[in-house]
């Protein structure tokens, strides 16, 4: 039951885009059509589900204070958490690289549809952000961190799909010239954020 709560919370209440502004750059740049947004959203979810549990293991067994006690009791006093940024990003970049090769080899159709999005994801803030939140919130198991990653990914997917659907309709509306393009997109994102804030008070 707790896992279900966590899932719903990470999809709606702690939505990556509307509550923390993570992955905003690609959210604004790629949300022009529903089809590409879908591809990017799936790629983000996929990478999140793979990287967050790996970083969780890294954090619990190597980086945290006293985490290396399982190697030998002498190492129990070492705290490597200051290295977490550099190791998390290195893991993310290499997993994205490996994923790209694996997907290209075994699922060419998926590879063709994800296309350029896969390599770009290494520098998507939502991915690193999820790993850092995982570290900050002290999840207790691989399961919890996987569910959190899945929820965040789906939340991101929902947000970018909604945005793309609205932007497709925007083509037919009259917008003041200085606001066209970027400006109106920001305003829409703000309004969608307000709508998502309705979930904020929910206690699960």
């Amino acid at each position: 039951m707790d896992l279900l709560n966590l899932f719903i919370k990470s999809v709606f209440v702690d939505n990556m885009i509307f509550a923390y502004f993570l992955g905003m750059c690609s959210f604004l740049a790629v949300s022009k059509t529903v089809k590409t947004s879908m591809g990017l959203g799936i790629a983000v979810t996929f990478v999140l589900v793979v990287t967050v549990p790996v970083n969780y293991l890294l954090n619990t067994y190597i980086l945290k204070e006293g985490a290396m006690a399982w190697i030998s009791p002498k190492l129990a006093g070492i705290d490597l958490s200051f290295l977490s940024f550099i190791l998390f990003i290195a893991i993310i970049a290499s997993i994205v690289q490996i994923l790209e090769m694996v997907v290209e080899k075994f699922a060419p159709a998926l590879y063709a549809s994800l296309g350029i999005f896969l390599p770009l994801i290494a520098v998507n803030c939502a991915i690193l952000g999820a790993s850092l939140f995982m570290q900050q919130r002290n999840f207790n198991s691989v399961g919890e961190s996987t569910v959190y990653a899945l929820g965040s990914g789906i939340g991101w997917l929902l947000a970018i799909l909604g945005m793309a659907a609205i932007r497709e309709h925007l083509k037919y509306s009259k917008i003041p010239a200085p606001l066209r393009g970027l400006g109106i997109t920001f305003i829409i994102a703000g309004l969608m954020g307000m709508a998502f804030m309705g979930f904020m008070g929910i206690k699960l």
Binding site: F82, I86, A122, N124, I127, G129, P178, M192, M197
Partner: protein, 205 residues
């Protein structure tokens, strides 16, 4: 060594990384509910962009093209760790309130944008100026957003009350909505609106 003004000042307005190039929105807006964290975040980004540009520009002839992204990420991550540890040691409260967003400077697209587009092809000193310019362009937007959000949302600037009590007695109330995340986006939209009304060539069709 020639001082290239264009490189330093262009990112402040015409090629502003946030409002024109849409880079680096990710880690920025969540810290602008108050002015102080916005300022600290802005300064941190200026330092990281300037020095990562400098270092990558020194390394540019030695980095193999295929692994350049990982090399850049490592340089940036090392700099961010330095900034983070300094803040943690000397400004603990600030470090706490910025939380994960400091770490997210690593994936700030402004950095990758500067490194890929400028530092890899230009001399160290010019790249250093480009880094400062882009960092400042980002910091200015953060500062403006932080200014309005704190003034209208909490009636204070840098934590000091600036709206007189008489105004509250007359029925003025702080706008709680300004503190919440969505308003940051709408204020950025307003900045874009003003900027593009002045610089007509930036308008999209």
């Amino acid at each position: 060594m020639k001082f290239n003004k264009e490189v330093l000042f262009k990112p402040l307005n015409r090629a502003n990384p946030v409002t024109v190039l849409v880079l680096g929105i990710c880690s920025s807006l969540a810290v602008t509910a108050q002015l102080k964290p916005a300022l600290v975040m802005g300064i941190s980004v200026v330092i990281v962009t300037a020095f990562s540009n400098l270092i990558v520009s020194f390394l540019r002839n030695g980095i193999p093209n295929r692994i350049r992204i990982i090399v850049q990420l490592v340089v940036v991550a090392a700099l961010v760790i330095i900034v983070e540890q300094v803040l943690k040691a000397f400004a603990y409260e600030m470090w706490k309130s910025l939380s994960v967003f400091l770490g997210l400077i690593i994936t700030n697209c402004i950095l990758m944008g500067c490194l890929e587009a400028y530092a890899l092809g230009n001399k160290p000193f010019d790249s250093f100026l480009d880094g400062i310019g882009n960092g400042m362009g980002y910091a200015i937007v953060l500062f403006i957003v932080g200014f309005f959000r704190e003034l209208l949302g909490s009636g204070s600037l840098f934590g000091i009350k600036v709206i007189p009590k008489a105004l509250y007695d007359a029925g003025y109330a702080n706008n709680g909505l300004m503190i919440l995340p969505p308003m940051a986006l709408i204020i950025v939209a307003c900045i874009i609106w003003v900027q593009r009304s002045i610089n007509k060539e930036l308008q999209e069709k």
